[in-house]
């Protein structure tokens, strides 16, 4: 199976090229995209089975030894993150195809989407710091265009915020890489591990702080997250769904990978735990202040990243396992919430809670999807969020991080609070404009929603199809809850594997 590893990358890469060649032929592009991502997902699952008991697959690109050339490394952490990521990418793609308006505005959608997938694959399987940077560049540019050309006029402005901050960070990232190379003479993770461990602890800390800051912006931790809630909600829902589900997690993945492989000796736990707690709190309070479904959910992206950083900061295998498990749960659950938002947006042309109401009555099944995902996000049993939250609370208690554990617990109630705000505003209740005194003319302009019969059969049909696509993702989150036992075991094994950087170095350098 080792020889199959590069195909993980080549499949979406060639898919991108093929989609470009099919420029203008929407259906062909759609088929290419679905086939490429499905194939990639299947391969990823097969490779996951291969490494599930602790093996590491290594592929030296061009046959050059690590350091001279680039090495692809596929361990359990890569496998878990990548498999869930690809599953979500595929589900969202199907949703985007079903949804009228996302991918038929421009032929560039599918190539960009596949390029983003390529970037995600590369980021998770590369064993090279500079190559990791390239992966981020691919993701950045592809996501920038996905954001802007699905979002309309607002998208350009939001896109500028997004791209300017990320480009500034890219420049700093380059400086950091140069610095690391200067001090160690290599950019291969496995060799960096050795080189960095030879540096004095103080110097290691500086390097770590630099990389943590850069990845922290990508992961949207406090106080570096402001770009996220300003740009994500502007895009069309499928795009936001995949951004919110995936992109920040690639940053978190980077933090986990680099902390464990390159900086095992740096004791940054306290700083990370404090930052994590602040991220959770500020994110969730930001969510509470919003009155738009997509904006609320975007702030939650930030808040939930705090949980993962908390897990990493506890600095035990259990904490890391909790962070990994939390990430696996978070990717589909967040994407599914945005997709439900997308269905609502498709039907009502808005996600503002003030203008929505009574969806629970008109679309009971859609509402059920939302409530399942929302309760999972808030960590209610028996959903995946419960296992994820419990894993972190347990690790926090065992690691004696009582204050931050208490924060994590309270934030989960505030999460519930804001989920209830969405539920009360959009699914229960009635639109605010119905309560206001309005002239009949103004009323006529608003779309009338009769309780019994939807106005437009075509719209009704597309809403149903979209709901089914969203249900696929909610299904993934439910499946995660069902297999939480084995999945937690795998996360723990992945954590233990990366906690010992020698295993990684030995596999790559042998």
């Amino acid at each position: 199976m080792r020889s199959a590893l590069p195909y993980l990358l080549w499949i979406p890469f060639t898919g991108t090229a093929a989609a470009l060649l099919a420029f203008g032929r929407f259906w062909l592009q759609r088929v290419i995209a679905v086939v490429a991502l499905s194939a990639c997902l299947v391969l990823s699952v097969l490779l996951l089975l291969e490494v599930r008991s602790g093996g590491i697959l290594v592929s030296r690109v061009g046959g050059w030894p690590a350091g001279v050339g680039i090495t692809l490394v596929f361990d359990l952490l890569s496998a878990l993150v990548l498999t869930v990521a690809l599953a979500v990418l595929l589900c969202v793609l199907i949703f985007a195809i079903v949804e009228p308006g996302t991918d038929d505005e421009a032929s560039a959608f599918h190539p960009s989407y596949l390029a983003m997938a390529t970037g995600v694959v590369l980021a998770t399987i590369t064993g090279d710091l500079f190559n990791f940077f390239v992966a981020f560049e691919i993701i950045l540019l592809a996501s920038f265009f996905l954001l802007t050309f699905t979002a309309g006029a607002d998208g350009i402005r939001a896109g500028i915020t997004y791209v300017v901050i990320n480009v500034v960070i890219s420049a700093l990232f380059l400086i950091a890489i140069a610095l690391a190379y200067y001090m160690t003479g290599t950019v291969s993770f496995a060799q960096l591990a050795g080189g960095i461990s030879a540096l004095p602890p103080n110097v290691q800390e500086v390097l770590w702080a630099f990389l943590f800051f850069i990845l922290g912006v990508k992961a949207a931790i406090f106080p570096l997250f402001m770009w996220l809630p300003d740009s994500y909600p502007v895009a069309r829902s499928p795009v936001t769904a995949v951004f919110a589900g995936l992109l920040t997690k690639v940053g978190v993945y980077g933090i986990i990978r680099m902390k464990s492989v390159m900086f095992p000796a740096v004791s940054a736990g306290k700083v990370m735990v404090v930052i994590a707690a602040l991220t959770m709190v500020v994110g969730v309070l930001g969510a509470i202040a919003q009155s738009d479904m997509k904006r609320i959910l975007s702030f939650h992206v930030v808040s939930q990243v705090g949980y993962m950083i908390f897990g990493v900061g506890i600095a035990t295998a259990a904490g890391l396992a909790g962070a990994i498990f939390f990430m696996l749960h978070q990717i589909p659950v967040k994407a599914s919430l945005f997709l439900v938002g997308g269905v609502i947006e498709e039907e009502h042309r808005t996600t503002s809670l003030k203008k929505l109401g009574g969806i629970a009555h008109r679309r009971p099944w859609l509402s059920a999807l939302f409530i399942l995902a929302a309760l999972s996000l808030a960590g209610f049993p028996p959903f995946s969020g419960f296992a994820a939250k419990l894993a972190l609370i347990r690790a926090g208690i065992d690691g004696r991080e009582f204050a931050a554990t208490a924060v994590a617990a309270i934030v989960s109630i505030l999460t519930l609070y804001s989920m209830m705000k969405i539920w009360g505003g959009a699914f229960w209740g009635s639109p605010e404009h119905e309560n206001l005194d309005e002239t009949p003319a103004e009323k006529a302009e608003l779309p009338e929603h009769d309780e019994s019969e939807p106005i437009d059969a075509a719209l009704n049909r597309s809403v149903k199809h979209l709901a089914i696509a969203a249900a696929g993702l909610v299904g993934i989150t439910l499946a995660i809850a069902l297999v939480a036992g084995p999945l937690y075991e795998l996360s723990l094994r992945a954590a233990e594997q990366i906690m010992d950087p020698k295993i990684y170095a030995a596999a790559v350098l042998k």
Binding site: L20, V61, G62, P65, V68, G69, S107, A108, S112, L122, F130, V134, I138, L141, A142, F145, T148, I160, T161, V168, I169, L172, L179, Y182, M183, T186, P200, N202, V206, W208, A209, F212, F213, P223, L224, M226, D230, V282, L285, G286, I288, A289, A321, A360, L375, P381, P382, F386, A387, R394, A409, I413, L416, Y417, M420, W428, G429, S430, A484, G485
Partner: protein, 764 residues
């Protein structure tokens, strides 16, 4: 047990299509499910005098000690009986209560079944997390049931309030369970019981406080009590089932399970204090209510307080009294709620001041309610009387220093119960209305009244035929105290306890009967804010704080974001950098004078660009910085890099000029001066930090660089004379391919954006 619990949820799903077709009749069918629970629990109760039935365990998340496990001890079986028995009556009652064709029938029927399943799971649960799972499930189903009338803002708010407060308790409990398990290694209730009596200190004691907090929130004790009166927005069958008989007893139940074995520690003091205060304050609040349903709600809070109070007592005899009262209260209160629902249905009001001598018109209901109030207030010859009697007697036998206070509280609470019971009964059924009289609509059918009657009269019947309660309570009492034979006295035992309780009863009846006395008592103002107002204040404060925070953090200004990110990031680096000894004075500032001059020129050009107001000049100055850098590269001995830089810079300047061509000649000056200062500060700070960082890294240069091997490999193995080419197309070809992808996407993306923009303008 697993099957029984799962069957409830399966039935809840099946109920959706069934109720759609059958309407209200679905309630009659659904009643079969709780009936099965009741029968099953009776079989357990009848045989478990010998042993507790074996547990069932299903693995779930082994690594976190989470499983799905059930075990039916005496108390669990008693609770299961209440859930099943009262459940049947609630379903029968619902059949009459709801409009059979109403839209809420499907929802309520399905949710009530799901709730019954959750509640059953809760009382049968053995593993901590199994208990927590069903605990939260009851909160969620309760949320939806309270929100049955979700078009009313009050119902929505009440549902949310209940979910948030019980959820807060739930999370405290989850943390408590985790701490308890992690520090003792015990993850099951049966494990706690098997470990025998123990006094806990340290972490487990903290854990117990957290668990007790969850119990208090669920059972609506101070300071969490506000959600229960608000939850009265739910339809009456829901109130009768969830918010009087079963769900609110979950906290009481857990306290009762833990209390006999986990001695000492602050948790007892917490529960006794909170419950003691609650039973008096809530009872006193009930006295002020005109709405019958609200009166019952406050009374429920008060009675739950009494139960928590008794169960948390360190003496097991108080526990026995608690379990008797638990049964008595569940029966009488559910019946009373149903009675109020009937009144509401027939007269469309629950306001005592509008009810006019109902006893003459609704004899059946009057009888049912009288029995219910008598049972609740603990009139002699009722189960509650026996229970209270026992509680008082036991309290008088224990003598820690605070027992006078405890007895005092109990006496006041009983007097208050008697007072509001008298007031409600008299006001609704035996006195004329004060306001406009509510008109009796349709007389309630017999089927409507019977379920309520069964419940309220059961409280009397059980006191008279003591075999029944002994059978129901025997194994629970044996589990807790080790003695099966406890005897419920039908006739009061003459002693000081009797005198005290009769005195309390008389006082209470007096207060309730004489309006002037009641007015005097109820008008007294409370010196501190309670429940509802605190909840609202927190709610408003939270939103206001969040708004303000979001306003500060999320200013929407890109320069501020960039500045914040740079300052924070560089600050983090500087903080760590400060720990390293760097002698900046020893570092050579530049390799040569030329180098220094070039860098200075770049700096001047950059500064000039930043203050330049003409766009074209700014672009040219930016180009100048780039060419200056190219010159620096030349001096440093990298001519190939310099060439690349010149090409890129030239291209960039040309493209920039083409873009600027269509724009106003000058930048507008709209930004406030403060933001300029911030930007300059951020840039300067970043520059200084990066400079110090790079200059300081001088001493940590690696001994060996892979570039050495790369040169070696490129000639020997890659067959390339030009190392840079070998790197680009061979050693690091993957990077190059990635960058090609980046460029391709950039081209397509830019072209598409331009196309969309053109089309958009074309349309407009």
């Amino acid at each position: 047990m697993t099957y029984l619990v799962v069957a409830h949820f399966a039935a809840a799903l099946v109920a959706i299509p069934v109720a759609r077709r059958l309407g209200g009749k679905a309630f009659l069918l659904a009643a079969a499910v709780p009936a099965a629970t009741a029968l099953w629990s009776l079989t357990v109760l009848s045989r478990s005098a010998s042993t507790t039935s074996p547990g069932e365990v299903h693995a779930w998340i082994k690594g976190l000690d989470v499983d799905l496990s059930f075990q039916a001890g005496g108390l669990s079986a008693l609770m299961a009986f209440l859930i099943g028995g009262i459940g049947v009556l609630v379903f029968l009652y619902s059949y009459r209560y709801f409009d059979p064709a109403g839209p809420e029938v499907v929802r309520v029927c399905s949710l009530l079944l799901a709730f019954a399943g959750s509640m059953l799971g809760l009382v049968l649960a053995d593993g901590f997390f199994t208990l927590f799972l069903f605990w939260e499930a009851t909160s969620v189903t309760s949320f939806f049931l309270i929100g049955t009338e979700f078009k009313h803002a009050a119902a929505r708010a009440a549902a949310t309030q209940a979910l948030l407060i019980t959820g807060l308790g739930g999370i405290a409990m989850l943390v408590g369970f985790t701490i308890f398990g992690a520090s003792t290694g015990i993850w099951h209730l049966s494990g706690v019981e098997n470990a025998g009596s123990q006094t806990l200190t340290g972490l487990p004691a903290v854990a117990l406080v957290l668990i007790a907090t969850g119990c208090l929130a669920k059972s609506a004790q101070l300071p969490f009590g506000s959600w229960l009166p608000a939850a009265m927005a739910a339809p009456t069958p829901v109130s009768a089932f969830l918010h009087s008989a079963t769900m609110v007893k979950a906290g009481v139940y857990l306290i009762a399970r833990l209390s006999p074995v986990l001695g000492g520690g602050p948790w007892r003091a917490l529960v006794i204090g909170s419950a003691g205060l609650t039973m008096v304050l809530a009872g006193w609040r009930a006295l002020r209510q005109d709405d019958l349903k609200l009166l019952l709600a406050h009374s429920t809070v008060a009675q739950l307080g009494l139960l928590c109070f008794l169960f948390a007592m360190p003496d097991r005899r108080a526990w026995v009294a608690g379990v008797v009262l638990l049964l008595a209260h569940a029966l009488s209160k559910a019946g009373l709620f149903m009675g109020v629902g009937i009144i509401d249905h027939s007269l469309h009001t629950r306001d005592i001041s509008r009810l006019d001598r109902l006893a003459s018109e609704m004899r059946g209901v009057a009888a049912v309610m009288s029995a219910g109030f008598a049972c609740m207030a603990g009139v002699p010859l009722t189960l509650a009387f026996a229970g209270k009697e026992r509680g008082l007697e036991n309290l008088m036998e224990i003598s820690p220093p605070w027992f006078y206070a405890a007895i005092g509280l109990m006496v006041v609470a009983s007097a208050l119960t008697a007072a509001y019971s008298t007031y409600a009964l008299r006001g609704a059924f035996f006195t004329s209305a004060k306001g406009d009289v509510a008109v009796l609509g349709r007389r309630p059918s017999l089927g409507f009244v019977i379920p309520a009657g069964v419940l309220t009269f059961a409280g009397i019947a059980m006191a008279l035929f003591a075999k029944a309660p002994e059978m129901l309570l025997g194994s629970a009492v044996k589990g807790a105290t080790g003695k099966a034979n406890f005897g419920i006295p039908v006739l009061p035992h003459v002693g000081s306890a009797l005198v005290i309780s009769l005195l309390a009863l008389a006082c209470g009846v007096g207060f309730g009967y004489f309006d002037r006395l009641r007015h005097f008592a109820s008008k007294a103002a409370l010196p501190f804010p309670l429940g509802q107002r605190v909840y609202e204040a927190i709610n408003v404060g939270l939103i206001r704080f969040a708004d303000r925070l979001a306003g500060v953090v999320q200013s929407g200004s890109l320069p501020i974001y960039v500045a914040t990110i740079t300052i924070v990031g560089m600050g983090l680096i500087a903080w760590y950098l400060a720990a390293i000894d760097i002698d900046l004075g020893a570092l050579p500032l530049a390799g040569s004078v030329v180098e220094l001059l070039l860098v200075a020129a770049c700096g001047v050009l950059a500064a000039a660009m930043a203050v330049q107001r003409s766009r074209v000049t700014a672009v040219l100055l930016l180009g100048g910085v780039g060419y200056g850098l190219a010159a620096v590269f030349v001096v440093l001995g990298a001519p190939d890099l310099a060439l690349t830089q010149v090409v890129i810079e030239t291209l960039a300047v040309v493209v920039f000029l083409l873009v600027v061509k269509d724009q106003p000649a000058k930048f507008g000056r709209t930004r406030p001066v403060g933001s300029e200062v911030l930007k300059i500060a951020a840039a300067a700070f970043a520059g200084v930090v990066v400079f110090v960082l790079l200059a300081g890294s001088e001493g940590y240069r690696a001994d060996h660089f892979v570039s050495a091997e790369i040169v070696e490999f490129s000639v020997a193995d890659a067959g390339a004379q030009n190392v840079v080419n070998a790197i680009l197309v061979d050693f690091r070809a993957l990077d190059t391919m990635g960058e090609i992808l980046v460029l391709t996407i950039a081209v397509i993306g830019a072209a598409t954006l331009a196309g969309i923009e053109t089309r958009r303008r074309g349309r407009a």
